[in-house]
């Protein structure tokens, strides 16, 4: 009998809990009046790249810097539209730049 009550009592007080991650907010990308970040991507050398509606940026944890590509007069990489993906080129960032540009130029 005692065991029964014990068992009963031991099943009371159950409720659901949630498990959360702590999200910290990075400093805002207010450069160039960016409204929408479409893609976040990490290159092979660990740098984080962002494709936004106002161009391509890279972020080192402290500052956002816009990426330029040397075509005649330092053209900026155009905005990456949402559906487009960025895949790493085989090696370096240069490669990515090229791919990004290739990708974007072709889709305009």
């Amino acid at each position: 009998m005692k065991i029964f009550w014990l068992l009963l009592l031991s099943f009371t007080c159950s409720h659901v809990f949630s498990q959360d991650f702590y999200f910290r907010k990075e400093p805002p990308l207010v450069v160039e009046d960016v409204r929408q970040i479409n893609i976040i991507f990490q290159a092979e050398d660990q740098m984080i790249w962002l494709g936004t509606d106002k161009g391509v940026f890279w972020y080192d944890g402290r500052r956002y810097r816009q990426s330029y590509v040397l075509i005649s007069n330092w053209q900026r990489l155009p905005a990456l539209p949402k559906v487009a993906k960025v895949r790493s080129g085989r090696d370096m960032k240069m490669d990515i730049c090229i791919r990004c540009l290739l990708m974007v130029m072709v889709s305009i």
Binding site: S10, R24, Q42, G61, K85, K93, I98, L101
Partner: protein, 850 residues
Amino acid sequence: MSAHGNGKHIVADSLRGSLISGLLFNDADQLFITTYGKGIWKYDGDTFKRVGFRELAQIDDIYDALFDLQGRMWLATDNGIWIYQPGAPESLSHIGQDQGLPDEIVTQLELAVNGDIWIGLYDHGMACYTIDRDTVVSLRSLQTSIGNVIGLCKGRPGEGWMATEKSIVRYNQDGSSKEIKLPSEMKDRVGSLLYDISGNLWVANGNKIFVANTRFEFTEPGISGIQALAVSNNQIWLGCESGLYGMDQQHRQINRYLANEKMNILSMYTDDAGMLWIGTFGQGLYCFDPRTKRHLHLTEKNGLSNNSILNIDGHGETIWLATLGGISEISWKGNPFNNDISITGFNDKFDFPEVYVYDVFAGPDGRVWFGTDGKGLYVYENGQFRFFETKADTIAQTDDQPKTIYSIAAGQNNTIWISGVKGQILQLGESGEILDHFQGNQGLIKSLVLSGANEMLMIREAGIHVMNRFGQSNLYAESSGLNSFTPTINATVQDKDGSVWIADTDKILHYIPFREDTHQQVRMHLLSISPTSLLNEQFALLKADSNFINIRYTGLWYQDPASVSYRYRLIGHDQNWIYTQDLGAVYSNLSPGQYTFIVEGSHNEDFSNAQSLTRQFVVSPPFYLRWWFITGTCLLITWIAYTYITARIKRINKLHELEKEKTMLQLHAIQAQVNPHFLFNSFNTLAGIIEENQEAAVDYVDQLSGFFRGVLTHRNAELIRLEEELEMVRNYIYILQKRYGNNLRIHENIAHAAGWIAPLSIQLLVENAIKHNIVSAEKPLSISIVVDQEWVAVSNPIQPKINASTESTGFGLSSLVARYGYLTDRKIEIRKEENTFAVRIPILYNDKPV
């Protein structure tokens, strides 16, 4: 990253108007471009060609694409998944609803490490294609209103992350999933998801970026006063002020157990059989079987030293309790519920001081350690209980024995780590020698616990240091959400999967290791450098005016970017390292020499394993300091001096020579003039005339004296007037004519009589003519003297004397030529033609006599 990209841009008109959904490079280095709107294209380096193999020609909208481990191209379309094999046998296969795909609209594809393909669907959440079974497994789908999957990422092995516009879900390979609660600040649509290489989860929301450190999960069970943790029977057990609770991860439920027992739980321990031993504050010890829910209650009445049990640890079928009244050892055989328990109090058995024991640690080698409050470290080994002395070492620099020890954990190779009240953390070897210590200079460490990945966690308020087996430690603090974390001392437990549970009073932190046993460093990047020749080269030779260096760098440590600091040094200029948080360094006005610049970044101020960026360069000395220049200049100066001096000497010598010559000439002139032969002949002639004609003799003497008067007057002059010379010459000729009579004929042609001439020069010429030629009746000599504006020309036919005259000394003409050489550039011209000998003397106008 430097902003220098050599952008090669390729424009494809045929692809205009479509969005590119994938850029694929296969092993054969071919590039395939999948588009949303225009299908698949292949780029062969030159042109774009649409791939139209079978159904692919009709597929226009491709959401995503990838290459799997077998080199096949997976295409996510509105009609399921198409798998295309380019190359020698081209093939195409399809995965649709018939093959188990829950939704035909596939929007995302991601390749897992083991070859599985995670599939994101429009309406069904996620599915997974398992490579070993070659089938599609529908993962537990969420409510259909969850929306389109916009991102898929690989997480830890066997884990995938899925993002829709409004939610983020984590899927495990066994099919279970968990939706992540997003912070309230995430109001906009989720744009992108990234799980980076260091275990951070990045979410792009509008124009904001959120980052979570996936090592830590926070649970708020809704209970406060959590003081102990244990793991048993697939549940996490919380020992609280109010009693015992079990947390079931699978079902996310918390249940209360032993509710009618009044328990203020201070400590818990799970033995090898899964029994939960619970130490309380004043209520003694409980043993609880999670499966059968049976429990056992032991108190002082049963022989415990005290009813308040602060810490429990054990080994096999023995446990040791640290109670307020000393240490009790409890052992049993088989099953503790069989009333086969023996309890021993250490205080009676051993000489153990009455002291509060913070931590009991049963080490893997069988030794049991006790960390006390104020009385140091004790060890129980082979039935012996003794004080364990820490031998202070000169290297460790600890002042004295750690007297109060909060927490003990196992180190490698039978060493232990202890954390003391003064904040020092020491690693002790077999005989108490200090092998290593850790400087956690921000507060004392409350607990030490090991994770399954061979890491030691050092837990303190507002931060956790994780030290891997290489001795490197990472600090997780504010950026991981730990700034309000107040851990309860020793309320930690390692779970079966190697993760660690840590209790705060009302929160539980779950630490899941992420590849921490690999070497992790701040990744350094060179942003820009000036002079630019050093940008891509490790070494450069700089000109003298480029004697500066301006470098900008950054270091990546996304777990906690604020903790990154740098040190740099210019070898050849700086004696020591310069520690800074700046992202650049400038050196200017460098003196010529060899330099090496090094910069390193670290996240925990420990640079011993930091990655560094180096550049070497040499500043050339300016040209005026080069050896060759200096040597050359010296030589030049020497040569100039030498030449100058030599020239001067020459000039002086020349002057002397000139003087000498002049004097000699004068001497010769005088000598010539006082030529005794001339006098002799003249007197002979005179004697002849005296006899004949007295008057003529007087004239003759007049002329002779006139001649000699002229000689006397002009003997020192360099130049005399032409008229004067002509007069002297006339005198001379008169004398000669008296001697030679008609045998000598002088023809004068004087057009002009102005200018200057050397004295006795014409006279000399005439004299020479007579000296060298026959003057006789048979052969009379004609001498012509022509004077024009520029020249005095004396010429005579050549009628040489048979016997050379001894009078000729040869001095005359040559010394005259030499004399004129000093006076003017115009030379005396001597012409000896067939029958005529002519000499021309220039008449000088601008030169005045000295």
